[in-house]
């Protein structure tokens, strides 16, 4: 049965329970706070941004509202969803680039909210982020070597004397000749700039990298170069990625597990193969069917969603997707469906499925 195939990268990780005989209790993620199979665990993460006043009450953009997931070491989790659904906010809040409104994030078993300043400082280089726009995320006034070496020096990753050699290696790992070290970012193309960003992150010897739409601004032919680079680095150094993208075909290619977000909430989470073979949530189904297939003979059976994404300031009651869902019932407006694991490694929040 194809649904149960395990992505190769996960096979080595024997702590992960895939076999069909496993019973569900063993998979209950809530009891695994201190397990080290998961490098990153996110529990009920919330991030609200203030959005002005309405009358006398303060209003909030619920950018991320109760999101939970775990990422096993050395694997890639893809995070997809429409723009503004909170993907970037999840990534930034996890790295404590934003303060949390609620919830917990465990990194390598430690609750990062409870860490002292100095402990957090130590952790910082181990969690890195690569941004969508390789143009604005590099300082225009620093030569590339300096950009990559700056944080390395700050965190004392290598002795001063070895810095240059170390930067050269990081650049080389990312496909940049060291001769480029003295050039400035504006002298590089988009793809090369993204390599510089990756080299900067890699030089800090991270365990976990949040890649926020790292290839969205690049051309198809350059996209493939960057995706291959990210995969080679993972194979060599065992990185764990959170890969944020709105491009489902890229996410399908690179991820082991995938989370689908809608308006601040996770609506479906699962092993890649399962999620693509059998999307359970109506939103995931619509999203998958909307992806244009580069084959002229392919008959699109698109589920065209009516209307637009509602404002995250006033999300619909109950299931947030109900305003665009063709299966919505009265129940969907009354309460929120629970996020339940129906099959191993496949969780959904939708009233189409039993709530027990």
């Amino acid at each position: 049965m194809s649904n149960n195939q395990v992505p190769e990268t996960m096979l080595n990780n024997d702590a992960i329970l895939y076999s069909t005989e496993m019973n569900k209790d063993n998979l209950d993620r809530n009891v695994q706070n201190n397990s080290n199979d998961y490098l990153v665990q996110v529990k009920n993460l919330k991030k609200y941004f203030p959005a002005g006043l309405k009358g006398t009450t303060r209003q909030y953009v619920k950018a991320v509202d109760d999101v939970s997931f775990n990422i096993p070491k050395g694997t890639t989790m893809g995070l997809v969803g429409e723009s503004g659904c909170g993907k970037t906010t999840v990534g930034r809040t996890m790295l404590r680039l934003y303060s949390m409104t609620g919830g917990e994030v465990y990194f390598d078993g430690q609750n990062i909210n409870k860490l002292s300043r100095s402990a957090l400082r130590k952790l910082r280089p181990r969690m890195q982020m690569i941004f969508q726009d390789p143009y604005s995320s590099l300082s225009p006034r620093m030569p590339v070597g300096e950009i990559i070496g700056e944080a390395v020096r700050e965190h004392n990753i290598v002795p001063k004397a070895e810095l240059n050699e170390y930067v050269a290696k990081a650049m080389n790992d990312c496909g940049l000749p060291y001769q480029y070290a003295r050039r400035y970012p504006h002298e590089f193309s988009g793809g090369q700039r993204q390599r510089i960003c990756i080299a900067r992150a890699v030089a800090l010897q991270p365990d976990f990298i949040v890649c926020d739409e790292p290839v969205s601004a690049l051309d198809v032919s350059i996209q493939a170069q960057i995706i291959n680079l990210l995969q080679d680095l993972q194979n060599e150094f065992g990185y764990t990625y959170l890969f944020i993208s709105h491009d489902l075909s890229v996410v399908e290619y690179i991820s082991d597990t995938i989370g689908v977000m809608y308006l601040g909430s996770m609506v479906e989470f699962g092993d890649k193969k399962k999620l693509f073979a059998k999307p359970m949530h109506p939103y995931t189904q619509a999203l998958l069917s909307a992806v244009p297939v580069p084959d002229p003979d392919f008959e699109m059976q698109r589920v065209i969603l009516e209307g637009d994404i509602p404002s995250p300031v006033n999300p619909p009651s109950g299931c947030k997707f109900r305003t665009r869902c063709q299966y919505a019932t009265e129940e969907c407006a009354k309460s929120c469906p629970k996020f339940i694991e129906y099959e191993s490694q496949h969780e959904v929040a939708c009233f189409l499925y039993p709530q027990e």
Binding site: M1, S2, N3, N4, T20, E82, S189, G190, G191, Q192, D219, V220, S221, I222, Q223, A224, Q225, I227, N228, Q231, H246, L248, S249, V250, E252, Y253, I254, F276, A277, K278, P279, M280, P282, Q285, A286, L287, L288, S289, A290, V291, P292, V293, P294, D295, P296, D297, F298, M300, Q301, R302, V303, I304, L305, D308, I309, Y327, Y342, E343, L352, Y353
Partner: protein, 427 residues
């Protein structure tokens, strides 16, 4: 007659003196072009011409559009020829900066002057009154009668073409009133509301009185389409019409474009870098690379039987196709596009091409034709080199009849059966 600035230096860095010299000669060239464009009361015969095939809406022939910048002449469009038959959709694909937008702006005579100029070639267009003009030679004044009315454009970022300080309704009304001065105010408004309805906006009266910033991205794109269609254009140029939108909204807009195209029986020039969008929409495809067309043909020729190494590479680097086949690394085209200021004399793709051979380093290849107007500019297809037994690029077999990838896209709708509901072994 293509004028080129001979002072362009071959290095990346120019001295101030060199830059000044370039600027000086640029000014002279630009002045000449501007003068020609600004002439008044030009006799129509000067820019009247004949279509090569009356079934085409537009024929672009050997178009050259250059930008005379201080660092040298950018040959943004460097000899582009293709045609758009009536009622058809022609997709234009290619890497960022390859000249897709400049081609479309040339057709509209909207290239940013005085730096940007159409320096050579012709753009033959037949108006709804049956007159055939060469847009490349048309003075600015005359072009106003065609732009917006006969040929309409939809841009990538609707905010740049909707004026933020005017209400949606006023902007729609104005777009129509310019070309239909005889229509009464009420008639114009009725037509605007009708257009909003046609593009699937539910609450037309309310939206009519809204400002652009009050609408979502998808709604603004709908308004843009309404505005483009209000004068019943014969040709719609859509430059990345959905790139700024999410996939679910993109699906709505593409569906809408197809629908309205059929309603007004218009033709579309669809510019996008998304091969998936092209596959779903276009009848013909034009593949551009560094200001030139490297391959063109029927949609099936391009997707099932591509000839040019660049087209094949592009297809193979798509994640959605390649992983089904290989299950491992993505194919990637190495290297980068050459700078449009310093284009080599040989094949522009040869620094990235794994099939290149001797002649590729010496000359730019001419077009070679296959069946049904399928053409590719690549020496691999020259009869002269037949004896060399050159290896030609090919899509992996699974890609040409990708039953597997189609299988993978059978998407269930609504509630699916759970494993636990099928005695544990279903699925």
């Amino acid at each position: 007659m293509a004028k080129e600035n001979k002072k362009t230096k071959n290095t990346q860095y120019l001295t101030i003196k060199e830059e000044r010299e370039i600027a000086k000669s640029n000014r002279k060239i630009m002045k000449q072009f501007e003068r020609a464009k600004n002439r008044k009361n030009v006799d129509e015969s000067e820019f009247t011409t004949q279509m090569h095939d009356p079934r085409n809406v537009i024929e672009i022939d050997n178009l050259h559009t250059y930008f005379y910048t201080d660092v040298g002449t950018t040959k943004a469009v460097n000899g582009v020829s293709f045609k758009i038959p009536e009622g058809k959709i022609v997709g234009v694909v290619g890497e960022s900066g390859c000249g897709k937008s400049v081609t479309s702006l040339s057709v509209m005579q909207l290239v940013q002057g005085p730096v940007g100029q159409i320096v050579d070639g012709s753009i033959r267009y037949t108006t709804s009154e049956g007159k055939c003009y060469d847009i490349a030679k048309m003075p600015r004044d005359e072009m106003r009668r065609i732009r917006g009315k006969e040929i309409a454009m939809i841009f990538q970022e609707p905010m740049t073409s909707l004026n933020p300080v005017f209400k949606i309704g006023d902007q729609l009304d104005e777009a129509l009133a310019i070309f239909e001065p005889k229509m009464s105010k009420n008639e114009v408004k009725a037509r605007s509301i009708e257009m909003l309805e046609m593009v699937g906006i539910a609450d037309q009266e309310k939206i009519y009185h809204n400002y652009p910033h009050e609408l979502s991205g998808g709604m603004r794109q709908r308004v843009m389409i309404a505005m483009a269609l209000i004068c019943n254009p014969r040709l719609i140029i859509a430059d990345e019409p959905t790139t700024a939108l999410d996939v679910t909204i993109q699906a709505q807009i593409l569906e809408l474009l197809l629908e309205v195209k059929n309603k007004i029986n218009g033709s579309i020039m669809l510019i996008t870098h998304d091969l998936g969008v092209i596959a779903g929409m276009a009848d013909y495809v034009v593949v551009m690379y560094a200001g030139k067309i490297v391959e063109a043909g029927d949609i099936h020729d391009i997707f099932k039987n591509p000839k040019h190494p660049y087209t094949v590479g592009l297809m193979r680097s798509l994640p959605s196709l390649s992983h089904v086949v290989t299950g491992s690394r993505l194919y990637s085209i190495p290297g980068q596009v050459p700078s449009p200021v310093n284009l080599p004399d040989n094949c522009y793709f040869c620094n990235r091409c794994e099939y290149s051979f001797d002649i590729c380093m010496e000359q730019y290849p001419p077009d070679y034709y296959f069946e049904d107007n399928h053409r590719a500019a690549c020496f691999l297809y020259d009869e002269k080199y037949k004896d060399l037994d050159l290896i030609k690029p090919e899509l992996p077999r699974n890609l040409t009849d990708d039953s597997e990838s189609i299988m993978a896209r059978k998407i269930p709708q609504g509630r699916v059966v759970l494993e636990s509901e099928t005695d544990g072994f279903g699925g």
